[in-house]
Symmetry: C2
Subunit: 148 residues, 2 copies
Amino acid sequence: MATYFEDYQVGLVERFGHYAVTRDEVLRFATAFDPQPFHLDDQAAAGTHFGRLAASGWHTCSMTMRMMVDHWQEQGMQSLGSPGVDNLLWLKPVYPGDTLSVQAEWLELRASRSRPTMGIARVRHTTFNQHEEPVARFEGLVMLDRRP
Amino acid sequence: MATYFEDYQVGLVERFGHYAVTRDEVLRFATAFDPQPFHLDDQAAAGTHFGRLAASGWHTCSMTMRMMVDHWQEQGMQSLGSPGVDNLLWLKPVYPGDTLSVQAEWLELRASRSRPTMGIARVRHTTFNQHEEPVARFEGLVMLDRRP
């Protein structure tokens, strides 16, 4: 089954994903991309507002993206990529042991002026932890095929 | 040497970083976090506007972050973390074989109302490839210690 631009409506709210945050992955991501002390070490994090070892914000975005892509592929939705993201907020620390999920709210849908076979959606993604606390949020632009 | 909030000025422009984008890392990142066909396979990417295997946008942000953290640590600047990012744009595909660097423009500096030992900076980061083409851009908020 394929899902196209025409299959989405402004106001649609979806909830999906289940991502277990592991200490190993938090350390591996931070070592590669964000080697700040509070992403590498419990003791260094203890003196900061993180309190203990916390995931890089870019890691949180990346885990969120994985849940988004899995969800799109389940739906048969093929993104053509994204020109960007607005209002990216890291609202609360993400800790090893947390389990994340995503809420997607379809805010805007418009046809592309330059490419008539394409539509562009603005979708607000909020990432929640297992306590239903929002930990991150961003408005992503997603380019989608129109129904042939 | 330590660098504090007071050591930065609005208008400061910095240039730093040298990140070699490898095919292995592009595939590893995409497999973990963004398994869309154009981030996994040259043939699948050939039919898209990417043209060939291209890095996930979140991978580009993560590579940029690594250059930022390395630069901060060279300067003795310790970030206290970030509440978020505005206007994140993925301007051009990033390909295996590219070499990335960063320009940081200090746009705004303000004392924190809630935490008098802290300042907040808004810094526009632009990531360039080896052809001096901007490939990504975002305005990051960075929380910094004030001089004791």
